[in-house]
Every structure is written in structure tokens, then in C-alpha cells.
């Protein structure tokens, strides 16, 4: 089933605040096998100039995925999640995420198009603190394999 093109341009309500914890950062770093002490030791992170334990560069996905789920799991969009693979991903940081941050995400749909029988959904997530300080902008394209009407 092709995706509903009327989703392009939609912007969603901010997600519930996400409290970044030291333990979640450690768990994420463990899962990617990264032993960098700045992900685990407050002293090591402070030696680098951070207020607290710092998050790995791709940790933002833990937070932004809540906003992309608002879109992808909306039944009206028509996405079969088992057919979804990740096409592109980028992060632009205003500053690194550190433990103690309370983050909210505003998600939006930038584009929906078809290519080679696949549907491509381009999403954007703007991450700020609950006080409105910009932290990160993430962009992603997800590919729905073999679902395009033009396929």
C-alpha cells in the first residue's frame, strides 16, 4: 500500500519530556561496545569540559525515535513496519547531550516520494531542552520496500 502523501508538511505536538540518565547512556554505550570513559565516568566527562556524563553521537536516536514513531505508527499513514529499512540518517548538534538533560522533540514530515518501487519517507526531529535550548536536529529517511503504487 502506498503511503498517504497528505502527511507531507505535518508537524506533531512535542513529545513528553525525556530525562537522559547516566544509566541509559551507559546501557547504550555498552550495546554499541564503546568503552569510552566519558560515557560512564562523571570525572572523565568533566575533564573534557562536559557538565555530566556525555552521550554517544548517535544516542539522540533514543529520543528522536519517539517522535518518528508518532508518524510511522499512525495507521492512517499506511506503513508496514516489517517492510521498513533505514535509508539515511543525520544529526546536527548545537551541543552534546549529557546526563540530566530533559529533552522534548518536535517531529515533522518533510517528504514522501517513490523510487524504484519503494516508498521513501523523510522525517525531521528538532530536539530541545524543556526550557527551549536547541540541542540537536535529526533527519532520517526510511524506506518502505516494495510498497510503492508505481512499483
Amino acid at each position: 500500500m502506498p503511503l498517504d502523501p497528505s502527511f507531507v508538511g505535518r508537524t506533531y505536538e512535542p513529545t513528553e519530556p525525556y530525562l537522559v540518565t547516566r544509566e541509559k547512556i551507559r546501557e547504550f554505550a555498552d550495546a554499541v561496545g564503546d568503552e569510552n570513559p566519558a560515557y560512564r565516568s562523571v570525572d572523565a566527562a568533566r575533564d573534557l569540559g562536559h557538565a555530566d556524563v556525555v552521550a554517544p553521537p548517535t544516542f539522540a536516536i533514543v529520543v528522536t525515535s519517539r517522535a518518528s514513531a508518532q508518524v510511522m505508527f499512525d495507521p492512517a499513514l499506511g506503513l508496514d513496519y516489517s517492510r521498513v529499512v533505514h535509508g539515511e540518517q543525520s544529526f546536527a548538534y548545537a551541543r552534546p547531550i549529557v546526563a540530566g538533560d530533559r529533552l522534548v522533540v518536535v517531529g515533522s514530515v518533510e517528504n514522501i516520494r517513490s523510487a524504484a518501487g519503494n516508498d521513501l519517507l523523510s522525517l525531521r526531529q528538532d530536539v530541545t531542552t524543556v526550557d527551549g535550548e536547541p540541542v540537536c536536529t535529526a533527519r532520517s529517511t526510511v524506506v518502505s520496500r516494495g510498497t510503492s503504487a508505481e512499483g
Binding site: 550495546a31 569510552n36 553521537p57 529499512v85 540518517q89 544529526f91 533527519r139 520496500r145
Partner: protein, 142 residues
């Protein structure tokens, strides 16, 4: 933020120390739990095959997380990465055996920008095929 490398000591063409990352089914289960991405194609080969994949594939985000370690280990401060983007050009297929898959990552300084910023271009291959395209990180050096 305090990277260990000085921008003035870096030139276009410098090669960063390469890294090699083993990925097994256990790696994928751990990443699913830590990231919250429970897409079935990352742990169930029946579902993966039913949608036309050769086998279970790694989360693209796991490959992306591994690849940037070439940059963060070199720069010294993971918080010094200010931009990072990739295209997922081929899936990393992870068979259900003791070997799993291996992702090999190299990085090269591609551009020296203003204000201590340096762009590093990354290559990532698995089973001899490129798995990331246009993989680029901008890092703020000391």
C-alpha cells in the same frame, strides 16, 4: 569540550586509525533493547526472509554508531562531534552463527574548516561490500 587533537596538526588526507567491529545476533538483541528499535527484521530470520531480505540484518543505527567510533576515539572527546550523517547503502547481514558479521571502518580527513572544525569522511564495509555511503562527521578539534 576538549578534543585531544589540534586542528592545526591536521591536514586533508590524514588517515585515522581504522577499526573493525564484530556484530553477532547478541549484538543486535542488545542494541534493540538499548535503543528501543524492536523491528522484527533485526532478530527474526523468518520475518526478514518474508520481506525479501537474505537473513536478519543489523540495525543501520548500530552500524552508524560503530562507524563514528573511528572519529571519537581519534578526537578524544565524543562531544566534539557536531554533525554526523550517513546513507545506508547495503544491509549488514548477520547470520545465526558464532562469527556473525564484521564491519570494517576507515576515516580520512576530507576538509579543514574554520573555527577548528574538521570533516572526516568514513568508509564502512562488511563482507567486502560498502554498507554506508556519504558517511561524514564534522568534529571540533582543539
Amino acid at each position: 569540550m576538549t578534543a585531544h587533537i589540534k586542528a592545526g596538526d591536521v591536514a586533508v588526507g590524514d588517515v585515522l586509525p581504522p577499526k573493525s567491529f564484530p556484530l553477532t545476533r547478541l549484538s543486535l538483541v542488545r542494541y534493540a533493547g538499548a535503543s528501543g528499535d524492536f523491528n522484527v527484521i533485526h532478530w527474526n530470520e523468518r520475518t526478514a526472509r518474508s520481506v525479501g531480505l537474505p537473513d536478519v540484518i543489523a540495525h543501520g543505527m548500530l552500524t552508524m554508531a560503530e562507524a563514528v567510533r573511528v572519529v571519537t576515539d581519534w578526537a578524544g572527546d565524543p562531544g566534539a562531534v557536531v554533525e554526523y550523517g550517513v546513507r545506508f547503502t547495503r544491509p549488514v547481514v548477520v547470520p545465526d552463527d558464532d562469527q556473525g558479521a564484521t564491519v570494517e571502518v576507515t576515516g580520512t580527513v576530507a576538509e579543514v574548516l574554520d573555527e577548528g572544525l574538521v570533516r572526516v569522511d568514513l568508509t564502512a564495509t562488511s563482507a567486502g561490500e560498502k554498507v554506508l555511503g556519504q558517511a561524514r562527521a564534522v568534529v571540533r578539534l582543539a
